[in-house]
Structure formats: C-alpha cells, structure tokens
C-alpha cells in the first residue's frame, strides 16, 4: 500500500487548490504517452512507468502550462471519454442533485484513467492470472487515489460524501476490479462503466453498496470459470453487465431491493417495541402492531377518564379500566341480565342479600347509561367490578384468608379501600383488567365482569 499512499500525497498536494486541471493534464499526458513498456514483470516498475509518464514529479508544470479554467471538464476530453460521459449522463440517478453531478464528473476522469489503464493491460498481453490480478491491484489503488484526489477537488461535494465517500470508493474499486476482470472484449470498457455506475449510484443512497460490490466482484470473477451468464441479463446493445446470481443490476430493481430492505429494517425496530412480537410473518406482525396502537390509545382514553374528581379517595382508575374493557363485552351480551346472573353465581357470602340485589339492579341500570357513574357508585360502596376468572381465583384464595386480602398484582396499580381500615371484613380487590404497561393479560378483559364481595 505504500505506493498508494505516496500517490495520494502527491495527488493531494497537486489537487488541493481546487481545480480540475491536474487530472486533466494527467489524462492528456496519458493519452500522449501511450507507449508503455510491454515488458513489465513487476508491479513496482509498472507504477514507476505510470508515475513517470504522468510527470507527477513536477508539480509546477501543469499549472504553468494551463491557466485555470472554469470550463467543465468534459469539454476537453477525447472522444472516448465523451462516450463515457454520455453513459454517465444517461444513468438514472434517484438522488440527482448538483452534488451528484459534480461527483459524477470527478468519477468521469478517474474512469477514463481506468479505461486507459485497462487498455494498457490488454496491450501488455495476458500473463498468468495471478500476475494480472496483482497488476490490477496497483492501477486500482492508483484509481482509488485518483478518486480520492478527485473527491477532494470540490469541497462542497466532500461534505456530502463524507459518509459515502469510502463506500463509494470501495464501489469504485470493486467496479474496476470487476470490469477489468470480465473479459477483454472491446465493449467491456463500457460494461465497466455501467457496472461502476450502479455501485456509484447506489453509494449515493447507502454506503453498503460498496459491500455489495465486493460479492459482485467475486461473482463476476467466477464468471470466466463458470463460463455462463449468471442471472441472465441478456446482451443488449448497451452492453449491460451480467447480473449476478439471483439479482439484477436494473436500477429499478435495485431501488426496489433497497426499499424492501428499509421496510424490513423498520419492521425489526417495531418488533422490539411491540410486545408479543414473536411473529415472523410480516402480515401478522402488522396486525400485532395495529392492535397494540389501538390498545395504547384505548389506555389513554381510559386514563383520562380516571382524572375525574381529582384527589377523591375513590379509585376510579380501577373501575373505569374494567368498565372500559369489560363494559363493551357486557353490553355485547345482553346487558343487565347476564350481569345479574353472574353476580348471583359468584356471591360467596353476603351479610345482607337484599341490599346486594338492590345494589346490583342499581348498578345494572347505571351501566346502561354511563359506565363511569356506575363504577363510581360501586366504588362508593366499596365494591368493584372484575372479570369472572379473576373472581373465582380470588375467592378461592380468600377462602383461607378472611381478613382483608388486598391483591396488588401490578406495581403501578393502586389498591384502595372505600371504607378504610374500619371494616376489615370487606376487602376491595383491585382488578387488572388491562395490564398497564405490561402488554399481556388482554384475555382477562374479555370475560364477563362480575361483582363480588367476600
């Protein structure tokens, strides 16, 4: 990597005063000095050649020869680079803003360099694959340096690319590797451009396309051995890159893939928030989410009912919650009758039957009009409404313990005694019809409610 760092330093020193001329000169000189030593055997020599041909050792000359111009870079290019440029301009980019365009121009130059290097590789003759690969590495490092230098040209682009810069360079790198490895047909130049467009366009959106580029590279590198076109994008006049297995390089499908990944990501985040999120199916997960949102909104509504009366000693919170939850299903099955039946069934002991039945009728009547008042009436009497299952469980429990057993199954749930400590025989049992913040126990609320007084 040493040569790479050297070049980078050189490039940076050259290119820091934000102008595109050094690269331009570089390219021009490369075009002129196209006679490379074909007898290269080692990487270092090749690098030396590149460096000498580009005359990077002399930083002053580019600036003396060419006064700074503000012309856009493509106008000075040769025809081949114009061809590349056209390819670039035709590439659809979802986030097309000025940053992208500038970015693309910089890549323009580096891509042209890459093409030149590739041609050089071809002209050198194909040696062993290993040495070729080794030779590829260097020019690609060069290109990385060039790209980095090109990136530093425009300061405003730098800021936007600070995140994606590395990823895009990676994509560049991999794109070049893929392009240069994929055969030696004349059109592979353009194929490299295309393949490289896509990582570049993708890198605009997310840096991890660079990571995708790596498997693409390996997949493409396997192609000469596999000797087949993977994923079947047919050879079109625009020379599309062969798709890797199971994926397409179509920009639309890439966008689709990104969208799906984003949605999957968000679903995972939602899974952590929503309880009972062990569903793997997206549809059932959505159902769960919908139910949870409805549940939370209902809780807010219920809690807002509990603020009535302020600092009164009653526990409207409890009653209202059970009323909200159980009230619906009580009303669903035939109001007063079922209630009376259930209460009759659940009375374990009653000192005064008459008063109880009167109370029940009263409560039943009030429930028809307003659950809140009904519950407050009950609370005033020191009674509460609870689901039947809970009532049976509690009654069996309190059979052994006749003193006031106050059950507090949930910390925020508050117990309250309507009568206070003066009547220990009467126990007020707090009901948890809807768990507050637990998220479970919804099934409890579905049972019919009952009034019980041990």
């Amino acid at each position: 990597m040493r040569p790479c760092s050297r070049e980078m330093q050189g490039m940076n020193s050259l290119l820091n005063p934000s102008s595109q001329i050094p690269l331009q000169d570089l390219q021009n000189q490369q075009i002129q000095n196209s006679h490379f030593d074909p007898n290269l055997s080692s990487n270092e020599d090749f690098l030396e050649q590149m460096l000498s041909s580009c005359s990077w050792a002399d930083p002053k000359s580019p600036w003396d020869l060419n006064p700074p111009t503000n012309l856009p870079f493509p106008t000075n290019n040769s025809s081949s680079s114009a061809k590349h440029r056209d390819l670039f301009n035709e590439t659809p980019s979802s986030n097309s803003d000025s940053n992208n365009v500038g970015f693309r121009n910089n890549f323009d130059e580096s891509v042209i360099l890459a093409s030149k290097l590739r041609q050089h590789q071809i002209s050198c003759g194909n040696g062993a694959a290993a040495s070729d690969a080794a030779k590829m590495m260097l020019p690609q490092q060069l290109l990385m340096a060039v790209a980095r230098g090109g990136l530093s040209l425009n300061d405003d682009i730098d800021g936007s690319l600070s995140q994606g810069g590395d990823g895009s360079i990676q994509g560049l790198f991999n794109g070049f590797g893929a392009g240069s490895m994929s055969g030696t047909d004349g059109a592979s130049n353009q194929s490299m451009q295309q393949h490289f467009n896509h990582p570049q366009g993708g890198a605009m959106q997310s840096p991890n396309l660079g990571a995708q580029g790596a498997p693409a590279t390996t997949a493409v590198m396997n192609q000469p051995q596999a000797s087949g076109s993977n994923g079947g994008s047919p050879a079109q006049p625009r020379q599309r890159v062969r798709a890797r297995r199971g994926q397409a390089t179509d920009p639309h499908s890439i966008a689709e893939r990104l969208r799906r990944e984003r949605i999957a990501e968000r679903m995972k985040a939602l899974q952590e928030l929503v309880p009972n999120a062990n569903k793997t199916d997206k549809a059932s997960m959505l159902d769960e989410i919908i139910d949870y949102v409805k549940f939370l909104q209902l809780q807010v509504k219920v809690l807002s009912m509990s603020r009535l009366g302020g600092a009164a000693a009653v526990a409207p919170l409890v009653a209202d919650m059970s009323s909200e939850a159980g009230g619906d299903c009580i009303q669903a099955n035939d109001n007063g009758g079922s209630l009376a039946r259930t209460t009759n069934g659940n009375q374990t002991a009653s000192t005064n039957d008459n008063s109880l039945t009167v109370t029940e009728h009263q409560v039943a009547k009030m429930m028809e009009e307003d659950m809140g008042t009904a519950m407050q009436y009950l609370q005033g009497k020191g009674l509460c409404l609870m689901p039947i299952s809970l009532a049976t469980a509690i009654s069996t429990a309190t059979c052994h313990n006749r003193t006031s057993g106050i059950i507090n199954s949930h910390a925020p749930m508050h117990q309250s005694n309507g009568e206070g400590p003066t009547s220990p025989s009467m126990s007020v049992l707090t009901v948890q019809s809807m768990t507050m913040g637990n998220g479970g126990g919804d099934g409890v609320a579905k049972d019919a409610a009952s009034v019980s007084k041990p």
Binding site: R259, R262, V293, V300, S304, R307, L308, G310, G372, T373
Partner: protein
C-alpha cells in the same frame, strides 16, 4: 439496530419529562377552569363528565405532540388537527404559524377497491398517516408507539399520585 434503539431510549427520557410537565400544567389549567364554573357540576351529569374526559384526553395528546415538537410527521399532523379543532370550537388560542404545506403536499395513496389493507388501517390510526408511504409510515409508527407508551406510564403515575 442496537444503536438506534439506545438512542431512542435516551430520547425517550427527555420526552417523558417534557410530556409530564406539559400535561401537569394543562391538568392544573383544566381543574382551575372547572372549579371556576362550579365544582359539583361535573359530578351530576354524565355528559359533563364525558366532556371533561375528552378535554383531558385532548390535553394529553396536545401535551405529547408539543413535547415531541414538529420534528415528526405525526406530531405535526396532530398539532394541526388540534389547532383546527380549537379554531372550530372557537376557543381562542395563541396564533401560531402552522405550515400548511403538509396538507398541500399530501399525496393520498391510491386506495384499492379491495378491503382496507393493514397499511391503510395503520394509516388511520397514526395521525397524519395518509400522506406517508409504507416505509415512512413504519418509522412514524415506531416513534408514535414509543410516545404513546410514555404517555400511558406518565398518566398512570399521575393518577396514582393523585389517589394517594
């Protein structure tokens, strides 16, 4: 993503405190206004209680929306709806600049004639969900759920304190 989750929980602490303070203030305001109009009035009729319930619920949502601020789409939509409601009911509020752009740029998702898909149901639940595509909708839902949960815990603890 673990990092997003930790950031979200840290954010929740701030939301909880802000929501709690706003909500308590609005509760005090409500109680003062109700005391002015006669304390025993609400105990007699069920309708008065319902109105008070609604007021408290609206106060809770407004406090939550303001605590979140205009950062989120759903909070903006909620604030907008509340201001509209206030305007309709003739309650005088402070004139705030409401960005109407949200309404204008709403691109309603084309409703297919089939039964409402789950995404549509979710859109109805989350405030301002009509003008979001699925991806954004899921994100907003996550934040909305988090805020609703904090709202519930805060209101619950307030209720407990009041009862003590």
């Amino acid at each position: 993503m673990a990092s997003k989750h930790t950031i979200a929980t840290r954010h929740a602490q701030g939301i909880r405190a802000r929501f709690a303070s706003r909500f308590l203030r609005s509760l005090l305001r409500l109680r003062r206004s109700s005391n002015r109009f006669g304390g025993s009035q609400s105990n007699d009729e069920g309708i008065g209680k319902r109105i008070r319930t609604d007021r408290i619920k609206i106060a809770a949502y407004a406090a939550m929306a303001r605590a979140v601020g205009p950062r989120r789409t759903w909070s903006r939509a909620l604030l907008f709806k509340l201001r509209n409601r206030a305007r309709i009911h003739g309650v005088s509020r402070k004139r705030c600049l409401v960005s109407e752009k949200k309404r204008i740029t709403r691109n309603k998702v084309v409703a297919t004639s089939s039964e409402p898909s789950r995404a549509d149901t979710l859109r109805k639940l989350v405030p301002g969900g009509d003008s979001m595509d699925t991806c954004v909708l899921l994100e907003e839902t996550a934040h909305y759920i988090k805020c609703l949960a904090t709202q519930v815990t805060v209101m619950q603890s307030i209720a407990d304190r009041l009862l003590l």
